[in-house]
Symmetry: C2
Subunit: 241 residues, 2 copies
């Protein structure tokens, strides 16, 4: 039996969620509450010692890292619905796009998301309460990120991340101007992983993602939102923010 641990339908949590729904695999869904820092709780760190979502429990074997989980589902749970091209070259193109999300696109969007949302989650805490929260975080790098979110990210870092977001959506729009999907002429993990970051940017980042500047990116976002199995995700899984 598959058991999937995640936050709501956004960012890294959304990637394997879309794959699970698209493949129509049966799974138990355990939603964690980011506002109570449930991913840093002892019960969850017993599942993923890094205290991060998403994680997939496949009969007791825990697979972590959203993009890796997506490929794992294709490897270990093949279905009639394929989310990876069979052609090896096309599959390589798919991986260039999923790698790019993990290395570049998700980081700049994530920093701005932390600046806007996570900082609000910790601003009402006293210093002592905040230190208790941080002490429960198992990964040192993540402790640094939480401290930065509370102190406020430096403005030059926020400016640089916004520049990267602008360059990212430009790259996506340029590619989608000539291609219905990102790789292999079909809906793949490349679309799933990029959509999970890009969906909703027409609201949060309207200065970059709008009808005039990125019509092809918006066409693709709408096309994915119109898929029955994507609509099932958003109907079933409550959003947090």
């Amino acid at each position: 039996m598959l058991k999937f641990y995640s936050f709501g339908p956004g960012a890294n949590s959304l990637k394997p969620m879309l794959a699970l729904y698209e493949k129509q695999l049966a799974f138990e869904h355990k939603l964690l509450n980011p506002r109570t820092f449930e991913h840093h709780s002892e019960w969850y760190k017993a599942i993923n010692p890094r205290g991060q979502v998403p994680a997939l429990d496949d009969d007791g074997r825990i697979v972590t890292e959203s993009t890796v989980i997506c490929e794992y589902l294709e490897d270990a749970h093949p279905t009639a619905v394929k989310l990876r091209p069979d052609d090896h070259f096309d599959r390589a193109q798919m991986r260039i796009w999923t790698k790019w999300v993990d290395e570049y696109f998700c980081w700049c969007v994530s920093t701005i998301g932390w600046h806007r949302h996570v900082s609000k989650m910790v601003e009402h805490l006293s210093d002592a309460e905040f230190e208790e929260v941080v002490a429960r975080i198992p990964v040192a790098e993540q402790q640094v990120k939480w401290r930065r979110a509370r102190e406020g990210f430096p403005q030059d870092l926020l400016d640089e991340e916004m520049r990267k977001i602008g360059s990212s959506v430009r790259k996506l729009d340029d590619h989608l101007a000539d291609n219905e999907w990102l790789a292999g002429g079909m809906y793949t993990l490349a679309d799933i992983c990029n959509f999970s970051i890009a969906n909703g940017m027409e609201r949060g980042f309207a200065e970059f993602v709008n009808r005039e500047d990125t019509p092809h990116l918006l066409r693709w976002i709408e096309q994915i939102n119109a898929r029955a199995n994507v609509q099932r995700v958003f109907a079933n899984v409550p959003r947090e923010f």
Copy 2:
């Protein structure tokens, strides 16, 4: 016919090179000269428009990005020698390690490498000559990196990258204390991709990688260097630095 474009046997160029040799695939090897910025030349940009090595030409189809090329070789050119575990869970663990190199480990080492080596490649150029070099670089992000290498990276960035290098080699050593190989109990792309960055760090980063602090990491580096197909790489392909 496979044709492989790369720099010498280090960093990202080394990853697919090790895979090609380990699998004993026949290929034509075209070595580019980084000192003359050959990867930014028109002839090479006709092959990889991003002006980056490595790249693999497989009967006219160009595959780029070192980790993606490694997986492509496993997909498209299966051999008796397998560099990916068959077990799906083990394969996922392998991908967590190759993803970590691309997202984290290679970046901090790369910045210090640029600081030490690339800055020397451009310091003798006049401003006008340097601008000519930069103008030939097709990726805006890379232009930024070349400018930074010439101007000098800020000290706080260099300090932060050194901290990340320290934490990276600690992570590797801790894992290798209990495991012969990084994933799946066998020599895989996880080892190849991490070794390509870690090899030689006992010289360049002796404060972090040494017999006392990282004995397991050194054992693993030596174990890989002792492989016949790894020795063939270093015997056949000249080092640049």
